[in-house]
Symmetry: C2
Subunit: 366 residues, 2 copies
DNA sequence: ATGAAAGCGCTAACAT
DNA sequence: ATGTTAGCGCTTTCAT
């Protein structure tokens, strides 16, 4: 046989440690008795190959169990067909849904996903971004842990990788973004409460934040910031003094449920709550139950995100639904476009939220 | 400023398309005026390098903004420090939690995660596995779309990559597995119903399955199979004839809620339901409400998975809680061990489920 | 301790 | 249409 020979000579020290050597284009080429280049062309479906040769090569590949090494390919082409996604926590239904939306688009466009959790901390976010960059992802999707400290994002841009932000924006970074109309959403949601006659309304978020919220203060997450803005403005418009006093951040560190209990009990207790996401709504619901407050008679509750169960509780919960899937999908679409070379100006897409009125709002008790 | 200059000199045909050339060890070596090998040693923290040189190299790397190319490293070492995970659907809370559990362990051990959704179809599962293998992941975590058709899993084993199954097992494949004690769980859950006096009890799963379930039939998902086994055995022990007639599979294709409505209405309606996961429980809950059936007075309901909201509905739902996080984490632990070379016999870890009795079970109406 | 050179598996010029 | 060759960025012998 016209063995091209020498490539089989040495035992290799590399490999996956199971002693087996991966089948390479060279092997296939040898078996099909063509050059490496021709084999590669047939296998990689590029360049020009005669039908007969192509078939011969493919059969050989089949028989040897050839499986292309995507890494080697990336080394020479510079494209990895992989996009990185950094979410706060994949267990959070918001991120799970957004990730799914992104995954579907990515998949269709031929990209795989490397997933990392930042836990909303810039430090682990930095680490995550570091690995993804090292793996030479073609672009990144990130829900930035901070909209203010943009160093991690700058790293990405400096590395020359397209970046699309989702759920949150960041000032001063060259990137597209896909977010929801949080301020408007917050206004509507809060308006429901003020219209019903509430004057003591609390806004609860788990956003990490040291000390209490002060008016005009810059918040780490732009989406929460927007919600807070919508919330306080609406309160102010209703003539409620010191709206910012009703903003409760950092609820995770302190235990959401406990924070909720504090807010809805005592002499100056809130009579209504705006929960910044469905998990917070859950905690508030539990808190209310634990202190014997009925919703909506004793406490009104509205929340962001139409989690699947929000229509099932008694009472069902009035929510501001976000197109979560679409946020992830659209972000992925923008990213793919950038990766493919679109050099247009950066855009920020703002998707509408949708109010779903249910049964958790009533006038306050007198 | 001390611009080092030359790295911008040559145009390169590779790269990320943004015209920028990545900084390589060579560049750093040149800047630090040492050989490539030495620079690599200093950067990669292996081999022997004098302190002074190490420092010089690191400073140069810092200045140039060097970022190791993990792909090139993988090419030569054969290790990618990446593990692949294939789940049914990341949007499903079960998988989101298991993924998080796995991600945490992987992260600690220095591995990244490539995520794919199989949608429980062997075809897209095959595709997903193909890419992950092409990317030379060091090992795979998969919740197999089929416990019966093991070709996709065989591909992995044939490729010499460690494989750990989670949530489901598969016969005849050389792999570890981490599952929950589903049969026992199903027995307990169903027992609650038979003890309460129910005789017409339905089991609902979204597992894809053509035609109705027949006794002894092999099911695609081992976890569902085990639950069905526990369910039918318990009915049989209670003297209920033709237990298998009460097994309703394929509920997703037909619409879970509609399937539920069919089962809980009509002359031979079920008076109790075992939902194979929390999303199904949700649909049953909705179905009951839509046809005006009260839980538990008119219909008893129990389910697998203690989703966060199951304690909040009225009535709260009795569930069999699974250690989902731990399933993913333990699977990742086993995988990491294999990747590190553990050649011991394959194990299947079975984790216990835990019954949480709440308010959704009552005796059937007469 | 450091350097020179080979090679991982692939693609891309450049022949022929 | 096919082959030859060089090279992607790194690690790893093997010298020195």
């Amino acid at each position: 046989m016209g063995e091209h020979g020498s490539e089989h000579a040495s035992s290799n020290t590399h490999g996956n440690g199971n002693g087996r050597r991966e089948v390479t284009v060279s092997d296939v080429a040898a078996a099909a008795r063509v050059s490496k280049a021709t084999a590669a062309r047939a296998l990689g479906d590029y360049g020009a190959v005669s039908d007969s040769v192509r078939e011969r090569v493919q059969r050989a590949a089949e028989e040897l169990g050839y499986r292309a090494n995507a890494l080697a390919r990336t080394m020479t082409t510079g494209r990895s067909n992989t996009i990185g996604i950094v979410v706060g926590d994949i267990e959070n239904p918001f991120f799970a849904q957004a990730t799914r939306g992104a995954a579907d688009i990515a998949d269709t466009a031929g990209f795989d996903l490397i997933l990392s959790n930042s836990d909303e901390e810039t430090e682990s976010e930095a680490k995550a971004i570091g690995v993804q960059l090292a793996k030479r992802v073609d672009g990144l999707l990130v829900a930035p842990a901070s909209s203010v400290d943009i160093r991690n994002l700058r790293t990405i841009v400096d590395a020359g990788r397209p970046l699309v932000l989702f759920d949150r924006v960041a000032e001063g970074i060259e990137a597209d973004a896909v977010i929801a109309a949080n301020r408007t959403g917050a206004r509507k949601l809060t308006g429901l409460l003020t219209s019903a006659g509430h004057r003591r309304i609390a806004f609860i978020s788990t956003l990490l934040h040291t000390d209490g919220y002060r008016s005009g203060e810059v918040l780490g997450s732009s989406s929460v910031a927007e919600r807070v803005a919508g919330f306080t403005t609406t309160l102010a418009e209703a003539g409620i003094p010191r709206p910012e006093a009703w903003v409760r951040l950092n609820a995770r560190a302190d235990g959401v449920e406990r924070a909720a209990v504090e807010l809805i009990t005592g002499p100056d207790a809130a009579t209504a709550v705006v929960a910044s996401d469905s998990r917070i709504a859950l905690a508030v619901f539990r808190a209310a139950r634990s202190v014997g407050l009925r919703i909506p008679e004793d406490l009104s509750l509205v929340a962001f995100d139409d989690a699947d169960w929000t229509g099932l509780t008694t009472p069902s919960i009035t929510v501001m639904s976000q197109p979560i899937h679409e946020i992830g999908a659209e972000a992925a679409r923008l990213l793919v476009r950038r990766i493919r070379g679109d050099g247009g100006p950066f855009v920020t897409k703002v998707l509408d939220q949708r109010l779903i009125e249910r049964e958790s709002v009533a006038p306050p008790r007198l």
